[in-house]
């Protein structure tokens, strides 16, 4: 069970299982996306002022992403711990790194869909205008930031999973860690949106920061996930 | 001394919080040690 091919099979199976559960329950579409949208509307109520919304739109998109991510992660691990599925997999001797990769990929797919919706909301509600180059940069930012968020979210989500009071523990653990993503992704998205007179080329160094974060936490997550969730 | 309230305030806050923590662990240690056997307290 330790060959690369079997690990890949486990990864794909876990990712497909999580996405199938998601597809069948449609929690993301019916509950999380509306939650994210209402957060965006509430931001507009709170910051109603000429020109402010366009300028802070990138930050609001990423804040809404982080808050919604907490909900999605908790859901992803409630599915596992409800019937002890994670324990069963561990007892069966399945590689925890592969399980981590599978759950992270499923989370990344969900997050990416969510972020696309949020960017679209920002364009519609906050009057953001993008050039073609800016659009490409926004897509790259979303992809790289999502890989980072998905891996670190799965890592800390697994830690908080089996525990009492996890609803409150996860934000405390996760939000400080993802601060670099919030900083990098917001600056890159600002460049893509052209908010505050930034140009598209100013965004690429920030995408570099996001890339470092993503690579680092994918690697660390694969190694550290097993010991962290071990019961 | 200029700014005496801030200076003494900062020393006071440090002293009070560290002292409160020290008192707390000492009392907790005494409380626990009442019920401990000597094998559980290898430092004695």
């Amino acid at each position: 069970m330790s060959s690369a091919a079997s690990k890949r099979r486990v990864t794909i199976a876990v990712a497909r299982k999580d996405l199938t559960i998601e597809w069948n329950s449609r929690i993301l579409v019916n509950q999380v996306a509306p939650f994210a949208a209402i957060v965006m509307v509430l931001f507009a109520f709170a910051l109603d002022n000429d020109g402010i919304l366009q300028r802070v739109a990138p930050g609001l998109v990423w804040l809404a992403t982080l808050f919604s991510m907490l909900v999605v992660i908790q859901r992803s691990f409630t599915v596992e711990s409800a019937d002890g599925a994670l324990d069963a997999l561990r007892v069966a001797g399945i590689d925890m790194g592969a399980i981590f990769a599978g759950k992270a990929i499923a989370l990344m797919v969900q997050l990416f869909v969510l972020e696309l919706l949020l960017v679209a909301t920002a364009v519609v509600l906050y009057g953001v205008e993008m050039t073609l180059a800016g659009f490409c940069e926004a897509i790259v930012t979303l992809l790289v930031a999502t890989v980072g968020l998905g891996s670190v979210g799965t890592l800390y989500g697994g830690l908080a999973a089996g525990a009492r009071g996890r609803e409150t523990l996860l934000p405390l653990l996760l939000l400080p860690v993802v601060a670099p993503v919030l900083i990098g992704a917001t600056r890159a998205t600002e460049a893509a949106f052209g908010s505050g007179g930034t140009t598209v080329s100013e965004g690429w160094p920030w995408i570099g920061l996001l890339l470092v974060f993503a690579v680092l936490f994918c690697a660390v997550g694969t190694v550290a996930f097993g010991p962290l969730v071990d019961e | 001394m200029k700014h005496a309230s801030f200076i003494f305030g900062s020393w006071g806050i440090t002293a009070v919080s560290v002292a409160a923590y020290a008192v707390w662990i000492i009392r907790r240690g005494r409380e626990l040690a009442k019920h401990a056997t000597s094998e559980e307290m290898p430092w004695t």
């Binding site: 890592l155 830690l159 089996g162 525990a163 009492r164 523990l169 405390l172 653990l173 400080p176 860690v177 601060a179 670099p180 900083i183 990098g184 600056r187 920030w206 920061l209 470092v212 974060f213 680092l216 660390v220 550290a224 010991p227 962290l228 071990d230 019961e231 | 001394m1 200029k2 700014h3 005496a4 801030f6 200076i7 003494f8 305030g9 900062s10 020393w11 806050i13 440090t14 919080s17 560290v18 923590y21 020290a22 662990i25 000492i26 907790r28 240690g29 005494r30 626990l32 040690a33 009442k34 019920h35 401990a36 056997t37 000597s38 559980e40 307290m41 430092w43 004695t44």
Partner: protein, 244 residues
């Protein structure tokens, strides 16, 4: 005798007396005898308590990281390492909190504001929150081994996270205009007594940390022993019930 002495021994008692004496001398030197700084004026007196606090916090968090690493890599996985790591993390949180408060009081006098969004301050705030999370994870429950393993991995993750946060916050700050305050650290000229007070503070606080750590990890040892015993009692009661 065991019942009365608590977590203290004659060694910790002697250490405690030394620490109290040194802190007394520090207070006399720092608040009374030492001259005011040419640039900072009397506010430099806050530094004699602020710098040792943050120094102790750094020592404590480094200790937590080292002990967590040793716990995970040592063959016998002795829980003593985990307890020292936990005790050290707790003391570190205390001192980082104290130094954030005293630092912002100093900032209010020097910069006219309690908080500036400078990279070092912001990273220190993150350090504080991260180790509060670490302590929260230690309270999660489960067996001692689970606690030790989870919290050790988390402490090592924190070592990775802190530089990353510091780096990205510095990048973030470099984009914006510098906080419009004079850099007060640039020309602090220390005379002999000021230097003495500073070093005395560092030594006294380091010894204070050792004293607190010894007591705290012994108390943790007793806590662990009692919860083990509680578990044994529960299992025996269960067995008797099942047997009856």
């Amino acid at each position: 005798m065991a019942g009365q002495s608590g977590t203290g021994t004659s060694a910790t008692r002697r250490l405690g007396i030394v620490v109290i004496l040194m802190l007394g001398v520090l207070a006399l030197c720092g608040l009374w005898f030492s001259a005011e700084d040419v640039v900072q004026g009397s506010t430099v007196r806050i530094m004699y308590i602020h710098v040792p606090s943050i120094w102790t916090a750094y020592i404590a968090f480094a200790m937590t990281a080292v002990c967590s690493g040793v716990y995970l890599s040592a063959k016998n996985r002795s829980l003593a390492w985990d307890r020292v790591a936990g005790a050290s993390g707790e003391i570190g949180v205390l001192f980082v909190a104290v130094s954030l408060v005293t630092g912002s009081m100093w900032g209010r006098l020097t910069w006219g504001t309690y908080w500036v969004w400078d990279a070092r301050l912001t990273s220190t705030a993150f350090l504080f929150i991260t180790y509060i999370g670490y302590l929260a994870v230690r309270q999660l429950g489960g067996t001692h081994r689970q606690r030790a393993r989870r919290s050790s991995v988390l402490a090592l993750l924190a070592i990775l996270e802190i530089p990353l946060v510091h780096f990205s916050v510095s990048l973030w700050r470099s984009l914006h205009q510098e906080a419009s305050v004079a850099n007060p650290n640039a020309k602090v000229e220390l005379d002999g007594l000021m230097l003495f007070s500073l070093f005395l503070g560092l030594i006294a606080f380091t010894l204070l940390f050792v004293w607190l750590l010894l007591h705290r990890q012994r108390a943790m040892m007793l806590e662990d022993a009692f919860s083990d015993r509680g578990l044994d009692v529960a299992i025996t009661a269960r067995r008797n019930e099942a047997g009856a």
